[in-house]
């Protein structure tokens, strides 16, 4: 996948995560992806597909009762010590920053936000108090907050969701990390603020060459900001392609289903449905089905789909885990073109 760079910055390979003591409850069933410097990879999928677990694995912050059961997580070629909290602490925020979903809940209500940004700097950088303070102010300025002096002294309940998310981004950026994992960074925000936050992340990426892993279920967001997209379903990656390629030429029936499941006024005008939903529900993590996990909901599933999980195939830039990629192409030709 990494044509330009032989060694990707962050490489996740065959990551498997399961409920501790219940190896049959597999949350991630072999997830592989890689991100390079200055690149944005989006991980998309519906709730429960394992995208958040993937990002928490990278941080070594899997919740209690969930553990990594296989695969590797490498940062710049070195395996991440995700089970060693002491070593992982030196990597969190210092080399991998994280932006969370709920900015309103992400900051401690009893400390001014400036202090909370300063805490990261104090933990990972040896700066004097005044230098740390100056850095906090310049970070708050960098993330586009007006009057950093006042904001730094404010308690979280005095700031808006958008302002808080900027503070959280400042916190994630504070130690110049190589990677930022943004887990649904705009889900809790207004649409206009969403666009501002994504533009901010993009600008910061241009300035610092930070790699961004954007975890989201919002395809609109992905289309505007990601370089590449990995689609996850049922604990597996089903398709990965450059953003434009994925939107124009999806190969996996699930990817197509996702794209179809965005509201389409055009389609409605032509007499179709506003929204084409995917029938059925996500399989349970304990469901032992041997084949493709999407098969029960797939309109194009055939007998071979039930037998074994489909391997990832295709050219380096566009990989898909499906026995019958783009199976609808044949149907579309026989029917009237859209």
């Amino acid at each position: 996948m990494a044509e330009a760079n032989p060694q990707p910055l962050l490489a996740v390979e065959n990551l498997e995560v399961a409920v501790a003591g219940h190896p049959e409850a597999r949350i991630l069933r072999g997830v592989t992806f890689a991100v390079n410097r200055g690149e944005t990879l989006a991980i998309v999928g519906e709730s429960g597909c394992g995208k958040s677990m993937t990002s928490l694995s990278v941080m070594g912050l899997l919740p209690a009762g969930v553990e990594k059961t296989g695969g590797s997580l490498r940062l710049d070629g070195t395996e991440l010590p995700i089970t060693d909290n002491r070593k992982m602490r030196k990597i969190r925020a210092a080399r991998i920053g994280m932006v969370f979903q709920e900015p309103m809940a992400a900051l401690n209500p009893v400390f001014p936000v400036g202090k909370q940004v300063a805490e990261v700097i104090g933990e990972h950088m040896s700066l004097s108090r005044s230098a740390a303070r100056a850095r906090v102010l310049s970070l708050l300025d960098q993330v586009g907050l007006p009057d950093p002096e006042r904001i730094a002294k404010s308690y979280p309940h005095r700031l808006s969701g958008g302002q808080l998310q900027r503070v959280v981004i400042a916190m994630a950026l504070a130690c110049d990390p190589e990677v930022i994992i943004a887990d649904e960074p705009t889900t809790a925000l207004d649409v206009t603020v969403q666009a501002q936050i994504m533009r901010l992340l993009k600008q910061l990426q241009i300035d610092t060459q930070v790699a961004i892993v954007l975890v989201t279920h919002n395809l609109g967001l992905v289309a505007h900001t990601a370089d590449r997209v990995a689609v996850m379903y049922g604990g597996r990656k089903v398709e990965e392609a450059p953003t434009r390629e994925l939107f124009l030429n999806p190969q996996h029936p699930y990817t197509r289903g996702l794209l179809d499941a965005t509201p389409h006024p055009d389609r409605q005008r032509r007499g179709g449905k506003l929204l084409n939903e995917i029938p059925g529900t996500v399989p349970s993590i304990t469901d032992p089905m041997p084949g493709c996990r999407f098969a029960p909901r797939c309109a194009f599933a055939q007998a071979d789909c039930q037998a074994a999980p489909p391997p990832e195939e295709g050219p380096a830039g566009h990989r898909v885990a499906c026995y019958h990629p783009a199976a609808w192409a044949a149907q579309d030709k026989t029917e009237a073109p859209q």
Binding site: M59, A93, A94, M98, F100, F111, V120
Partner: protein, 330 residues
Amino acid sequence: MSTSSRSRPWIFLGKRLAYGLLAILAIAVINFFLLKMAPGDAAEAMAGEAGTATPEYIAELRAQFGLDQPVLVQLGHFLARLATFDLGYSFRYGEDNVTLIFDRLPATLMLMSASLLVAVIGGIIFGVTAARYANRAPDQAISLVALLLYATPPYWIGLILILVFSVWLGWTPTSGMVDVLAFNTGWAHVVDVAHHMILPALTQAFFYLAIYIRLVRAGMLDVLSLDFVRVARAKGISESRIMYRHALRNAVLPLLTVVGTNLGGFLGGAVLTETVFSWPGVGRLMFDAMFARDLNLLLSILVLSSAFVVLTNLVVDLLYVVINPTVELK
């Protein structure tokens, strides 16, 4: 802007003080009638002790103390004196009630602060530890001990502590506040008092320690499930810092409220503890006043205690503003 209410604490203070005064007045009146309903009075008790309990002598004593007047007139006198901060005179001790109480107050306050400190600091340390190892061995041990301390009556704990540490082991004195025969001065006196205080302070602390452990544990578990704790972990800071700085700072807010309301309870507990350990404090004085039917003294103690509780609760509310930035005075 709501900031203005933060900068206008005087209105809040004035309101609270007015309510406090009303509460103290109500407590004084109710206690006055309660004590009047109790059988016996100071005259009977004194006459009984003197051994010359002729009705004439008792009547003479009553007239001397004003006890022969109608109850409402007595109440009027009492409230009128209260308004001038005059708490009256104890015929039994031959001393002003205020002097009596304030002589004993330091001993009580010292014991109270010591046990309060033990309960709060112990509650925080054990509560945080229990939450950190929730449902594992350390938590189970701490929770079991807390349950035992909670369920055991304090006076019984006091007697057992005396039995074990004073009688069997001989480590601590059995009672009193100082070694009267040693005539210690300076530093030696301080050490002596501290030595005497260990058992009564622990006795009084244990019950509250149990409550605070459970409260801090529950509060910590609540806070630890919040998002900002995970964000704090993602910052790479240490687990102890997350516990004691990020989580505890939020979890002590309910503790502060409960400690505030418990201060009255500490005073009430002083009666038992000070009696068991012969600690020369206000609680002991109250106990003695009760037996001697020195209702005037008893009433004075009750009024002063209620004033103390009202004031400390006000202080706790003010502290809340300092410790919790989202709370604003109204």
